[in-house]
Amino acid sequence: MEDSKTTLLPDFLLDLSSESMRTINGGSFEPRELSTAEISLEEEIDEDPAINLKDTPMLSKPTPIPATLGNCSVVAVDVSSIRVGESEQGLLYSLRGALVWREGSSYNFTRCGPLTFHVNDAIARSLNKRSYAKEDLTYSAWSPMTERVLARLRNTLERWMQKIACSRFSKGIVLLDGSLTAGTPDNPTVYVEELLNRARENSNVVIAFSKETRLCYSGKRITRLLDEADPPCILDIDRLIAPQFPSTPVRLMGRVYVAKLAQISFPFRVDIDRQLPEESGIAAVGRLINSDLVEQGYPETLRLAHILSTFTANEVLAIQRHLSIEYGVRLAPRFSFRRSLFGPFGTSTEAS
């Protein structure tokens, strides 16, 4: 993997990063404020409302996951994004991806980035040109489009690295963070199809783990369905979900399950490549348990990918310093009406 690490980042993303950052050259920029007490820097996107699945008495019982012999390679990909500051024309975001693989008992990783983007109209136009989606993005600062542009950038990097994982490994398990649902403008189906094809060509099985799910059944999160179940087990909920998306462009590229992989563990929503026979998919989960640590029910490889890609506050400071050295941006606190009018009483916790 090390020899080919340059291919882990697509050239057009590198160019896009450089181009977008040139638009800020010499300008002023308000760095994101960081405090030593800050617990999480993760960009939490507002959660959509819950999707209630239709109650049906037909819900099957959890299937025990059969024990398997032999190990296989496990590879996981995760990408993180972080807001590092704000210019007069837009926002500054950084992305970083990590690819972690386990062979035998050792873990290895390649980490790519950070890549920083000046998210503004120019970058929205560049993304539109490349987009497979029909919908165009029009950027304006502080609009919901910011999230859309960021989601598209992040998705581009994530899918690229996932595709590489599916291509470079064979007869293994490729773990993704999130689901195998695609078809939104920022998460086009074509990318997911491509990576699943590559995986199948190389006899890999793609399994996606969602830490959060909006799916509810009988008023409870679907993960609660395995509260009483004996692990390792898996519950097929695919037939409950499919009717939820009858006429939307959104496609479920994976068969959806809830899985509990270890004693004293959390259940997770798990998506397995739909084109694989159901038994092969469940057997792949068995191979995963045999080939990786699944403390708390979550694969260690995927956990490491998350840890390695996540930004810390110190890294945000380093990126800010890099920007001021490399692009000559001046760090300047943004003028705040609230602060100006109310002084120390103009707190951020005050209702607008």
Binding site: V100, Y107, G113
Partner: protein
């Protein structure tokens, strides 16, 4: 470097890793607009507490052994992460200021946080006395040679302290040689026989002051005559070194005076007179037992050719010499007795103005100095002209009043908290600075505080000395 915070006389400075700063270094915070500068000394170096640093390090710890890998960082941002991880926080104490080019000890203003420049400051500019008439190079600071005037030891009370083997005696020898070179009289109470070769170089060649150095070894070339010592000094010795009760001392005075009057003051006559003197049995017994102790130590003689000549001592001391009393292998009573005798005699000579002053170097003084002398040395004897330098590796044995009154303190490394507690009573520097700097001093480096460095505490790597090393612990294994 940038100012981060100021609290009291402490200033915290953010320092990038490429700047090499050590504890004890001086910095100048220069505010060009105000044409003023603040002189600060680095007393501690910490890592800057940046947001997210704990997570960063936790991740490194979690992955460093179990996960192998590499980073592809096309824009080389990670170098900035390393810089931030190694960014340091310098805890500094304000030591003075420069106002329109003139140094001042007080600083009641603050430099600009944003517009000030912070640069290393060669403190020798302020602390040294290169233009003095009696210069001595104490050693090197990080920036330059530190030269001071030995006059700064004149009339002063000094302490040299530090744990074993860090270079206390070395510095003490340097001071003695500088004083003698400049014609000052020195008396060295040498408990380990470390100074006996101070007049000779490492190749045994005599140094320029060799002829002015006299080594006195008790029982060999140091024996006393009763007449030479005199009643007062002898009686002081009996009282303070041998605990002779006051009533008995009065009887002893009468015996001495009778023999002196009859011109028969010698050891045999004294012995006989004590035995047959008409007084209470218990008094006689008290005097006799102590006198016998004195005889057993063989420190006294009736032979004038063997007896120590105090007039010779006066003469040579007045010309500028060092007398070393080698008390190595001496019994504790013998040590106390010799010191008592010498100090008593010295006080007598100084009171009578036969001597102008004496620089007394006392190694591990608690072994031979009686309790009442500590206060005496700080007060009365100092006014008479005894300027003492205490050298010890047991700082708690030196009385607190000595620390409080000390004019110059030379502190070598201490790691033990109890020792640091003892030395932190020094009045010339705040306890926090002292503890933080002294704890990390390398061998042969000392923190100099006091008048000799114009009250700017300076860390000095003590000048090497071409003197034969003595006083090393005897060892069985020779390899």
């Amino acid at each position: 470097m940038k100012i981060y915070k100021k609290q009291g006389d402490t200033i915290q400075i953010i320092c990038p890793p490429e700047e090499f700063v050590q504890k004890g270094d001086y910095l100048l915070i220069e505010d060009k607009k105000l044409r003023k500068g603040l002189i600060v000394q680095v007393v501690d170096i910490q890592f800057a507490n940046l947001p997210g640093i704990l997570e960063d390090i936790l991740r490194d710890v979690m992955t460093e052994d179990s996960v192998q890998g590499c980073d592809y960082d096309p824009f080389r941002v990670s170098s900035q992460i390393e810089v931030l991880k190694d960014t340091r926080l310098l805890v500094c104490k304000i030591r003075g200021a420069i106002d329109d080019g003139r140094p001042r000890q007080d600083a009641s203003w603050l430099p600009s946080r944003t517009a000030s420049s912070i640069v290393p400051y060669p403190i020798e500019r302020l602390a040294s006395t290169k233009d003095g008439r009696r210069p001595v190079t104490l050693g090197r600071t990080r920036s330059d040679i530190l030269t001071v005037d030995v006059k700064m030891l004149d009339g002063k009370l000094n302490i040299i302290t530090g744990k074993k083997g860090v270079g206390k005696s070395h510095l003490s020898k340097l001071l003695v040689l500088s004083l003698v070179k400049n014609g000052a009289p020195c008396l060295i109470l040498d408990i380990n026989g470390e100074y006996v070769n101070i007049g000779r170089g490492k190749r045994n060649e005599p140094n320029p002051v060799a002829e002015r150095i006299f080594v006195l070894t008790p029982g060999q070339n140091l024996r006393f005559s009763l007449a030479g010592v005199g009643l007062r000094a002898f009686l002081d010795t009996m009282i303070y070194a041998l605990d002779l009760p006051r009533t008995s001392s009065k009887v002893f005075s009468r015996i001495w005076s009778e023999l002196e009057r009859s011109g028969n003051l010698n050891l045999n006559a004294l012995n006989e007179t004590i035995r047959r003197f008409g007084c209470h049995e218990s008094v006689r017994e008290a005097i006799y037992s102590r006198f016998n102790t004195l005889l057993d130590l063989e420190l006294f003689t009736d032979d004038p050719s063997q007896a120590f000549d105090f007039s010779f001592f006066e003469k040579r001391m007045s010309e500028g010499s060092a007398f070393i009393i080698n008390m190595k292998d001496e019994h504790s009573i013998s040590r106390r007795l010799i010191v008592e005798l010498f100090i008593s005699k010295l006080t007598e000579q100084l009171s009578e103005m036969k001597l102008r002053a004496v620089f007394l170097f006392a190694e591990e003084a608690h072994f031979y100095l009686r309790e009442t002398y500590w206060d005496d040395i700080v007060t009365r004897m100092r006014h008479l002209g005894v300027f003492t330098t205490f050298i010890t590796n047991q700082p708690d044995t030196v009385q607190e009043s000595v620390y409080r009154q000390a004019d110059n303190i030379f502190m070598f490394n201490f790691t033990n908290e109890h020792d640091l507690d003892a030395v932190s009573k020094v009045a010339k520097i705040d306890a926090e600075s002292l503890r933080l700097i002294v704890k990390d001093l390398p061998v042969h480096n000392c923190l100099v505080v006091g008048d000799i460095v114009r009250n700017f505490p300076v860390v000095v790597n003590v000048e090497p000395l071409n003197v034969q090393t003595m006083g090393q612990t005897r060892q069985f294994f020779q390899d």
